[in-house]
Symmetry: C2
Subunit: 225 residues, 2 copies
DNA sequence: GTTTGCATAATTGTATCCAATCTACAATAT
DNA sequence: ATATTGTAGATTGGATACAATTATGCAAAC
């Protein structure tokens, strides 16, 4: 897991179809903000990019739509979903409720390896100079803290929820908080985990998410004017 | 909403494609338990049932798989997902966390109309003699209590989560509790809503879900032997 | 200048056809 | 008898082709 191989879990469990590859690629591009909200996703264009027909593209789109990352209308096409400030507020409220619970369940089960891995992620995040990578490292840190919870359904919901707002989270890291703030909060959460203080880790996680959400929404509402 | 028309929201907002129709039909059949866990879903068979080619069938399947209702393997086909006792336990734990929060948010916003509608659903559930309809009415009652929360993302997560365990919930209503128990709990929750006691409504909802989950898992573990 | 109508181009939805892979069972060797 | 190989049928993954619908550009009328 810590070596240089860039294998995804799905690559190991079962051979990936074209639809899988396209789904992953589009999902990543949307999450990273490389495709903006409202931008059209033409089946033919995407098919040509991947040198395939439109069939697997459509299958990938169905999944993206089921997940809420794109919205499509019959004979009009699909566009990347864009979230209103209200929707973002609600999703951060959701995150602030569920993620503390997940980390609380994880803390008693966290291995020393996991704590070391999280510390590495935290340091890597603090040391990273390329802003394009901050989002990935931020996400990896949080995921590391949650994964020992042994609650696959909770984790899948957390992942899908984060996918929806990941683009916007990156705005906070880029422009708003400068990310120095995030690093300090990360270290505090991690320290609470190391001290096996589940309640505190949960509480700090809740604050971390609430702060990010409020900062982000304030930023977006300013941008709008 | 209370009339005899059986229109779904999607039918009104946009014209349904074959894939939409097939998705809805398969989803309902799985949720209702008409197709059992582990049962194979052959593309060709389903396509013939709907008098279409396999293309829209596959698109429907992609959505079902994204939602976790079916699992598929390349060149092997798709089967209806079946949940282990552990998975069911986790999902009920999730429900017991999120649904009380949703009802707490809904109570202050509940209209008199909604309360009346919920009372009708509750009475209809109590009066229904056809066991095949208990699941639908149970679900409709809960949905009525949640809908005024004005939290579409929370509601979508609640819905998708309930879809996963709906088949199993019906077992509780059929065999285990006889459903008399469920009716009493429903009325208690509704009374708390009428009294605008959000905390109590949430607490009763949590207990309601926890009881159902424990009863169900105990039943399943007995069945296994 | 704006609007309306229509022809044309783009785009999506689906059917049909072919390739790749798996499953089951029979034939053969050990 | 067991293990292995080979082959036929079933099943899925994907490409191509066509139909249905929507967007676009342009000319004519107001």
């Amino acid at each position: 897991m810590a070596n240089g191989l860039k294998l995804k879990a799905s690559d190991l469990s079962k051979q990936a179809s074209s639809a899988d590859v396209i789904y992953d690629a589009l999902r990543d591009a949307i999450i990273r903000g490389e495709i903006e909200g409202g931008e059209a996703l033409r089946q033919d264009t995407i098919a040509q990019m991947f040198r395939v027909s439109r069939i697997p593209v459509r299958e990938a789109m169905q999944r993206l739509e089921a997940q809420g990352l794109v919205v499509s209308e019959r004979h009009k096409g699909a566009v990347v979903a864009s979230l209103s400030a209200d929707q973002i507020t609600e999703i951060f409220q959701f995150r602030a409720l569920i993620e503390p619970i997940v980390i609380e369940m994880a803390v008693p089960l966290m291995t020393e390896e996991t704590l070391a891995e999280a510390q590495r992620q935290c340091d890597a995040f603090a040391a990273e100079t390329d802003p394009m990578r901050w989002g990935d490292l931020n996400r990896a840190f949080h995921r590391a803290l949650y994964k020992d919870s042994d609650k696959p359904y909770f984790l899948s919901v957390v992942d899908k929820t984060n996918d929806l707002v990941e683009r916007y989270v990156r705005l906070v890291l880029y422009f708003v908080q400068g990310m120095r703030h995030a690093v300090a909060e990360h270290q505090a959460i991690l320290d609470a985990c190391k001290a096996r203080n589940a309640k505190l880790a949960g509480e700090l996680t809740r604050k971390h998410i609430e702060t990010a959400g409020e900062t982000l929404v304030a930023y977006l509402r300013n941008q709008k004017r």
